[in-house]
């Protein structure tokens, strides 16, 4: 780790192919700044990405990275972190990736509480497959696969995380760059699973959940007048269950959280192994006497 790392060190020389104005630009910049700010550099950082426009993030960042198959980013990231606790692991993906095909893994990653950061670029639509509704789309949202509205309730990812025993639950808005960066930074610093749902508008396929909409709707729980105690579970639950408003900030944090890999006693990277059988290996055989 070097203290001189700048956020641009995390930029790859690939130009993003995201649509001009896509929320993912801001989401990614905030992540890079937060990584640099927390003292990481590309050689100790591992970015795992899902599939979707959002999943392209690994390509545009410079670090060790793995771009998985659709919906499986969290298990991938969990494996990386458990095998090498020295790495800073960031997992990123879309709302479809994380809450639809990967919903099962989401719940279990939350309850396993591996020390990594999960950033979901929530645009309430499937971007890469060109505009079908997603699990966070509004109930009557009209898309190519829901011409008469979705007729399905949107999931509440924060509530899912809370119900699964989440230890760090936050939400940010990609164009509020300062706050977004701060929130991701706090997620990185959290010991355990740091979950940040980021409103990251799709300017091409979603004309409902737009920048203007979020700018007006967002309430920052970090504001002084709001006076939110993030360690107060009941308070957090009330805010999270309130679907009338769009909240930004750290809604809940369990300060006693300890990452799963630490609780399992993993201290060293698993990269080094003996050149032959480990010493005393014959004892393993003798167990079968």
């Amino acid at each position: 780790m070097s203290s001189e790392t700048r956020f641009t060190d995390f930029k790859s020389d690939k130009q993003p192919t995201w649509c001009p104005g896509c929320g993912d630009f801001g989401t990614m910049n905030g992540m890079m700044k937060a990584l640099a700010e927390t003292g990481n550099d590309p050689d100790n950082t591992f970015v795992v990405a899902g599939i979707g426009c959002s999943g392209k993030i690994g390509t545009y960042m410079h670090s060790y990275a793995l771009h998985g198959v659709h919906g499986r980013a969290l298990p991938l990231g969990s494996g990386v972190k458990m095998a090498n606790p020295d790495l800073e692991v960031m997992v990123a993906g879309g709302d479809g990736d994380g809450y639809s095909i990967g919903a099962g893994h989401f719940v279990h990653a939350v309850r396993r509480n591996v020390d990594m950061t999960y950033v979901v670029m929530d645009n309430r639509i499937y971007g890469l497959t060109k505009g079908q509704f997603s699990p966070t789309s509004r109930e009557d949202f009209e898309t190519s696969t829901s011409p008469d509205g979705t007729n399905q309730q949107p999931v509440n990812p924060l509530a899912l995380a809370l119900a699964a025993g989440g230890t760090f639950i936050a939400q940010s808005f990609s164009s509020d760059s300062q706050r977004h960066q701060e929130i991701v930074q706090e997620a990185i610093e959290h010991d355990g699973f740091g979950f940040v749902n980021v409103y990251s508008p799709c300017v091409t396929f979603n004309d409902v959940d737009t920048y203007d909409y979020f700018r007006d709707a967002i309430v920052d729980v970090g504001d002084e007048e709001f006076d939110h105690d993030r360690t107060d579970y009941d308070d957090a639950r009330d805010l999270i269950m309130d679907r009338e408003k769009e909240y930004q900030g750290v809604l809940y944090q369990n300060e006693d959280s300890v990452g799963y890999e630490k609780r399992e006693g993993i201290e060293e990277p698993m990269t080094d192994i003996p050149e032959g059988a480990p010493e005393g290996a014959m004892d393993l055989v003798r167990e079968f006497y």
Partner: protein, 587 residues
């Protein structure tokens, strides 16, 4: 065939059949006798017939036969289920004081030995020990020194305190005493002992042990019969080496966790069975395109779908060799004995890392759950070699960077193998993806690069064919006109079938093949034989298909797919039948 004794304990699932059988098997092993065990079990925990069978001899035994000499029957159904295998010298030990067995009479000439198992167990301290009373009785009937049973009981119950051990020993003693003093049985059985020291283990355990000594540090899995033993073996042991076993939420997660760990530089494995392999198949492609070393253990059971989860089959060959969309190289190793499960597990890790690809390590249910005795030296730890392949560090990484100083994890090389940098290596940061990529690992749809990367990945297989010894094991008469080929657990029964056939004047050359892909070239052997017979536990002959295709020779097939493994005598008859048929055709 060795002078052997066949013994079984049977009852309802939940009767403690497994541990009773295991205690006896271990006592025999302690007494320097060879043991081969098999289990008949149904896919339920309580109720349903279940049996644990032990075949023992002073010589090596590697299969089951259709004969039972001693049967401890906790239910009458146990006797019915095994009627075909019982003979006039068989002894059935049962408890006539149990209401459900009170009217029991031995069928035919065989001896029914009524021992008040429950009552004697209560005298020793608790009815739960009735199976141990039966074991004591069985020792007496077979003239087997009960001290070895004591040793086995100490091993089994030592952790529960001296009192429990003593009670169990007392229960066994009461059982033996009862037979000696209260009955007038005389049997032809005499279990002699030797000075040999054997170990007794099953295939799943051998795989787990092989993985551990090979440096596997990360295991993620989801429980499934018959692969769960691998996970249970590693759990509680891997931690001592700085590793971890993670019980994932499903197989999708398990293989992805294992893949993540492998990319982070750990030797990593997951184990499952057929349905789990199906779920893993999408990620299997990612493992292969991202060129990540990973060992995927498939302990086969009867399919398709949920099939017969506790029954034998070798039906997943096509899935392992061809499964997945698109085309990706993979290796498929299939040990043929329990000891081979250990050796092939080590080899699987070395191959995975040397060639940076997924390696299927497959055992069939019969190998996985049956136990066999071995000389401990069979598991020679000094011979274990670890080869991590082309791993680069900060000093050597420069060799593999492009003119912009970027590391090329998918560099196109002559041997098809690229350099590998563990995360944390300075200047090694790079991307891995399931998308087609260039030498840097970045997405590309460039037509030339696509072809170069596909060819590069395929070249690994050619390189491996040159560098590795993908050989077969050969038995029988090398000059025989009849060639039998098989894979997996069929080797054991086939070895005994060879002896039976020889007794009948039929010479057979037998090749047992532990490499399914890449596999040894058998064309010369097959073309020079008059009759080629492929033996396997599936209906369609999946292995027969591939070797037939390789050698451009028609083969005869012996397939068994009723859920039960081959038995030696049955296999010998099958081979005779096939040879008889071809002889007729030729005449």
């Amino acid at each position: 065939m060795p002078e052997d004794l066949n013994w079984a304990v049977g009852g309802e699932a939940g009767d403690g059949i497994d541990s009773t059988g295991k205690i006896f098997a271990q006592a025999l092993s302690r007494a320097g006798r060879h043991v081969f065990t098999s289990k008949d079990f149904a896919s339920r925990i309580r109720g349903g017939y279940t049996a644990y069978k032990v075949r023992t001899s002073v010589e090596s035994v590697e299969s089951v036969v259709d004969r039972l000499d001693i049967l401890i029957a906790l239910t009458e159904r146990t006797v019915d289920e095994n009627l075909d295998e019982l003979h006039e010298d068989s002894v059935i030990i049962y408890d006539g004081e149990r209401s459900m067995m009170s009217d029991f009479e031995a069928p035919g000439e065989m001896t029914a030995l009524n021992v008040p198992l429950k009552r004697l167990a209560e005298d020793a301290g608790g009815a739960i020990m009735r199976n141990i009373v039966a074991l004591g009785a069985a020792c007496e009937v077979t003239n087997f020194d009960i001290e070895f049973l004591d040793e086995s009981l100490e091993k089994r119950f030592g952790g529960k305190g001296e009192a429990i051990v003593d009670n169990n020993k007392e229960a066994a003693r009461l059982g033996a005493e009862y037979v000696r003093e209260e009955t007038d049985i005389s049997t032809p059985y005499d279990l002699e002992t030797t000075d040999s020291d054997y170990v007794l283990l099953n295939g799943d355990e051998a795989i787990g042990m092989g993985a551990l000594v090979a440096g596997c540090r990360f295991y993620a899995g989801y429980p499934i019969t018959p692969a769960t033993d691998v996970m249970e073996y590693l759990k509680g042991r891997i931690e001592g080496y700085g590793g971890i076993v993670v019980q994932a939420e499903d197989e999708l997660s398990a293989i992805n966790m294992a893949l993540g760990a492998a990319r982070a530089g750990a030797r990593s494995m997951t184990a499952t069975s057929g349905p789990g392999i199906d779920l893993m198949t999408e990620t299997f492609g990612l493992v292969a395109t991202s060129e990540t070393p990973l060992v995927i253990c498939n302990v086969m059971r009867s399919g398709p779908s949920t099939g017969m989860p506790t029954k034998q089959e070798q039906g997943d060959l096509n899935q392992m060799v061809y499964g997945g969309h698109g085309e990706v190289p993979r290796f498929v190793l299939a040990p043929t004995t329990i000891a081979e499960c250990f050796h092939k597990a080590i080899e699987a890790f070395n191959l995975a890392e040397k060639y940076q690809l997924p390696v299927y390590l497959t055992a069939d249910l019969s190998l996985a759950v049956t136990e066999q005795t071995y000389e401990p030296e069979e598991f020679d730890m000094d011979a274990v070699e670890i080869d991590r392949g082309k791993v680069v560090d900060e000093d050597s990484i420069e060799e593999w960077t492009n003119d912009k100083g970027q590391f090329q994890p998918h560099a196109v090389t002559d041997d098809g193998v690229s350099p590998r940098a563990f995360p944390g290596t300075t200047e090694g940061a790079h991307m891995s993806t399931g998308l087609e990529h260039d030498e840097l690992g970045r997405r590309t749809e460039d037509t030339d690069m696509r072809v170069q990367q596909v060819d590069k990945r395929d070249r690994k297989v050619d390189t491996a064919r040159e560098q590795e010894d993908f050989d077969y094991r050969e038995f029988g008469d090398p000059d025989a006109d009849t060639l039998v080929v098989s894979w997996g657990s069929n080797e054991g029964p086939m070895l005994e079938a060879l002896e039976l056939l020889e007794d009948d004047g039929i010479d057979v050359r037998f090749l047992s093949v532990p490499y399914i892909f890449p596999r040894p070239d058998l064309s010369e052997e097959m073309q020079s034989a008059e009759d080629v017979i492929v033996v396997e536990c599936n209906a369609t002959g999946q292995f027969a298909d591939v070797v037939e295709h390789d050698a451009l020779t028609r083969v005869e097939r012996i397939n068994k797919y009723n859920g039960v493994r081959f038995k030696a005598d049955e296999l010998a008859e099958d081979i005779k039948r096939v040879l008889g048929e071809t002889a007729e055709v030729e005449a």
